[in-house]
Symmetry: C3
Subunit: 141 residues, 3 copies
């Protein structure tokens, strides 16, 4: 019998690509559900954050911050900065590219990730933020 369980979580994340590894938190929440086979949707609430997978080690985290600065630079004039004068046009655009949604399967009660594949939430905003995210499990026991 298939069940749906929704959990709301939050984390504190640094500004300008603060990357938080939430893999263990998700595994703990998965254990609490008792579900054995299914999938978890990770969804970050808001328009200046994102979710993806990465090998979570300090050098690669540094690389990610540098490459996204090349692709969608912070120090450039964006029209959006004239809408609210909060200077975070780049944060919004990064979010639209990386997107705020990710679905990961699990089986036998374990996430089907690679050894070096961690799930991360990224705060693209230009100030430290408490970021809310949703975990929604669909599965059977």
């Amino acid at each position: 019998m298939v069940k749906i369980i929704t959990v709301e979580k939050s984390i504190s994340a640094e500004k300008d690509c603060g990357i938080v590894n939430v893999t263990e938190t998700i595994e703990e929440e998965l254990n609490k559900t008792g579900l054995r086979e299914g999938q978890v949707l990770i969804f970050t609430v808001g328009s200046t954050s994102g979710v993806s997978t990465i090998e979570y080690e300090p050098n690669l985290v540094k690389d990610f911050k540098e490459i996204i600065e090349d692709i969608i630079p912070k120090n450039r004039s964006y029209h959006h900065d004239y809408t609210w004068h909060d200077a975070n046009g780049f944060s919004h655009l990064r979010s639209t590219f990386i997107k705020t949604s990710l679905v990961v399967p699990f089986k036998e009660g374990r996430l089907l990730l690679g050894t070096w594949q961690q799930i991360v939430i990224i705060n693209f905003d230009n100030h430290r933020r408490q970021r809310r995210y949703i975990l929604q499990f669909i599965g059977k026991d």
Copy 2:
């Protein structure tokens, strides 16, 4: 008891990054299903469109069009343009990057979006198009 409901919709979208806010349409369709907790898959049919979230306001929409033109330029020669001679290689590449699929959770009958986070469908093609998209709800009442 978990249900699955599939709805097909379409919108008319401008060429070269016509961005359409479909959030209200999805909320209406969610209301019709009567489901209270679950998720909606938004999937755009075709290889020159995409779906993501954005703060839907005119200046940021303009920024998105400009930054994607920097990342995957329209005015550049693509091999694909020699396959069908329809000059939309850039449209396809933009679609592969932004992707045609997004999953958004809902609870108590409401999408769990941030206040400034809207769901948008983007037409990357080089002419105005009617774009078909699928809404698939999985949830319980």
Copy 3:
């Protein structure tokens, strides 16, 4: 009655953006499940691969390899290359951008793809690899 069926598959893929069209394989696996309406999650295991949709024809595949080389270049120094000395920092970053997860709906036993829209798995690593991926079907018959 909603069912969940998880299948593990693997493919051999060339290095540096080896792109494999897995659409037919997914259709075959869908047929085996007997499910008529629902969705399939495609998830690539590992931190140097990705999954998306593309019009799978040789010229566009070439374009994809060239544009991603412009966006996240191979021949550039990455901090990650000093962590393991395997020179694949670019592979990881490409994976974090394209992401390892995609959800596609089906109805009447058929994937709701466009005519020119194929599902592909991409090996971003710098050597030929056997790549594992998960197909997880949620649906009803």
